[in-house]
Assembly symmetry: C2
Homo-oligomer: 345 residues x 2
């Protein structure tokens, strides 16, 4: 990839000194170079196809304008794309680039990859998990510019961004309450993770705020996939006090719940309203009727983390604007919620 056009070729073409070319093309602050000269240098560089060597520049400045996104299991969730896209577009807007490393949850491998990134003078790190969970920062990243992405540490001094699970749970239940539902079941994930705890807290808070009692019998726990949702929905729909609405931990469980409802001759939304979580469009748009659900702010979290990280690197690497941030989970309305009808039995 060697290019034969060098800075002195640009200088000769533009009729200025090499130093002037360097100042113009590197946007060196505090140098007074008139607009006409700037334009001529840029035109010469473009005409000759000159590519400034950023590697030489980063050796001088010790700044590469490259961030690394280190993630555990990028491939296991369809969300990965949006989080990476948010990070990548935010970096690009500021002229930064993003390196991507996937560690497969292997600490030794992770340590080697972090060394490889440090050798290339990466300026900062996003340490991402592919679902909201609690993590310990790897030792190799201690003291470096880092933000946890969709992950949170017990150490409050480590900045992070995660979804507002409690608020999202409230939102889901509030839309059902607003339609007149009172017997609302929650098909929760049986794994003890921030999402299952937070969404349950939001479910309870919304019920209590509306003066509707919380009944443990309306909360079931199962695997967070379609089969788990099918089983959990079957359990509450075949129980003694059939709910008029289901809040499902995620859209995959809602997919199973739709199947359980269909087998019982229950039409959605007339006989049963359903709200999901995640806004996985392949499911939420694919179901009939479309699934009203709560969106995870993956794009926004990726963008926020990059903006904040670059800001802290540019302003002052030592500054202590560190925080654990939550971003809101907005409602996405489709067609799976209506007022409760005459429920059988």
């Amino acid at each position: 990839m060697s290019r034969t056009i060098r800075i002195k070729d640009v200088a000769e073409h533009a009729g200025v000194s090499v130093t002037t070319v360097s100042h113009v093309l590197n946007d060196v602050p505090g140098k007074r170079i008139n607009a006409e000269t700037r334009a001529r240098v840029k035109a010469s560089a473009a005409a000759l196809g000159y590519v400034p060597n950023r590697v030489a520049r980063s050796l001088r400045t010790r700044r590469s304008q490259v961030l690394a996104l280190i993630s555990d299991e990028i491939a296991t969730t369809p969300f990965a794309g949006l989080m990476i896209l948010g990070a990548q577009e935010a970096a690009s807007k500021r002229g930064w680039l993003l390196m991507l490393v996937n560690t497969g949850l292997d600490p030794a491998y992770e340590a080697r990859e972090i060394q490889a990134l440090l050798q290339r003078q990466v300026d900062g790190f996003l340490y991402a998990t592919m679902y909201h969970r609690e993590v310990e920062l790897p030792d190799e990243l201690a003291g470096l510019p880092v933000i946890l992405l969709d992950a949170v540490s017990r150490d409050p001094s480590i900045p992070s961004v995660v979804p507002d699970e409690v608020g999202g749970g409230r939102t889901a239940v509030e839309v059902l309450l607003a339609s007149g539902h009172r017997r609302i079941a929650f098909l929760n994930n049986r794994d003890d993770i921030p999402a299952s705890r937070g969404r349950l807290e939001g479910y309870r808070a919304a019920l209590e705020a509306a003066g509707v009692g919380y009944h443990q019998s309306l909360v079931t726990y199962d695997a967070s996939d379609s089969a788990g949702g099918y089983r959990a929905a079957a359990a509450v729909l075949d129980g003694t006090a059939r709910p008029t609405a289901l809040f499902c931990f995620n859209d995959r469980m809602a997919l199973g719940a739709y199947q359980a409802a269909a087998e019982r001759g229950l039409r959605i939304p007339h006989d049963l309203s359903v709200v999901g979580f995640d806004n996985q469009e392949i499911i939420a748009d694919g179901l009939r009727p479309g699934l009203t659900t709560v969106a995870l702010p993956h794009y926004e979290m990726g963008a926020w983390a990059v903006d904040t990280l670059i800001g802290s690197i540019d302003d002052n690497p030592q500054n202590d604007d560190r925080a654990q941030v939550v971003l809101p989970c907005p409602l996405v309305t489709r067609a799976s919620v209506t007022a409760p009808g005459q429920t059988p039995g």
Copy 2:
């Protein structure tokens, strides 16, 4: 991110010259340094936490061991993760890193991002599309080490890797033929893209090889989503010669076909066998019964592209081992296919 440990600290600690440290840590070929000295230098480097400056090295060698994956729309398909993962893991196995750039189908933006990558001495490029399509290589990449990923050029000198759509279509239909089906409908994507053309060709080839006639009335075209699959399935299931099996262009269309079948009281697989394409697990595993489908080799394509690209860079940038490659699409058997039963009317 400045580190205070320098190469001369390692040299002092190990009791050798700076040159020896450099030769050991950079694996300079042709230098005879005995194993004991090598081990001592590496131990000293590890003890002091010395990180060799790869930026300085790449300035000297003009080789960064970084590849860029440039893609059009990473976020719009759940496949992106597996293709990126395949590329990233293949790079990592060889000690290379992967930069990620998303162009959002904007040529001006793409040109700027490619410039930014060239400035950082990226050694090679993967130019990826998020579904198999025909592309023109951007001018900025002409003459550079590049492989098209899930994309193909009309120019056969530009190397590429795409799925074997024809073979995948054959595979899908062959599993239905082997179960005894003869009236097999194909719910195709109405977009004229390599996947719709190739899978149709495979459908026809499998029927002809089995001595089963091709009937245009059994092929319908609609949008490649759940709603399109629902409409297309309704059309063929309500037609005069109801098929006993459906081959769906993709799993999303199969999701809609399941809904159309359920509304007509048709049980899958007893009354209707269904085969999908893509192996989108969130659907294929989420449906009841699980969907037998054909997998796209996204992980394998990503890995193949990186292995081939690094090979061509390492061996000889000028070598002409250029090819347009297709990788097979394997069958993933679940529970949506059985022998045809007594079909109504």
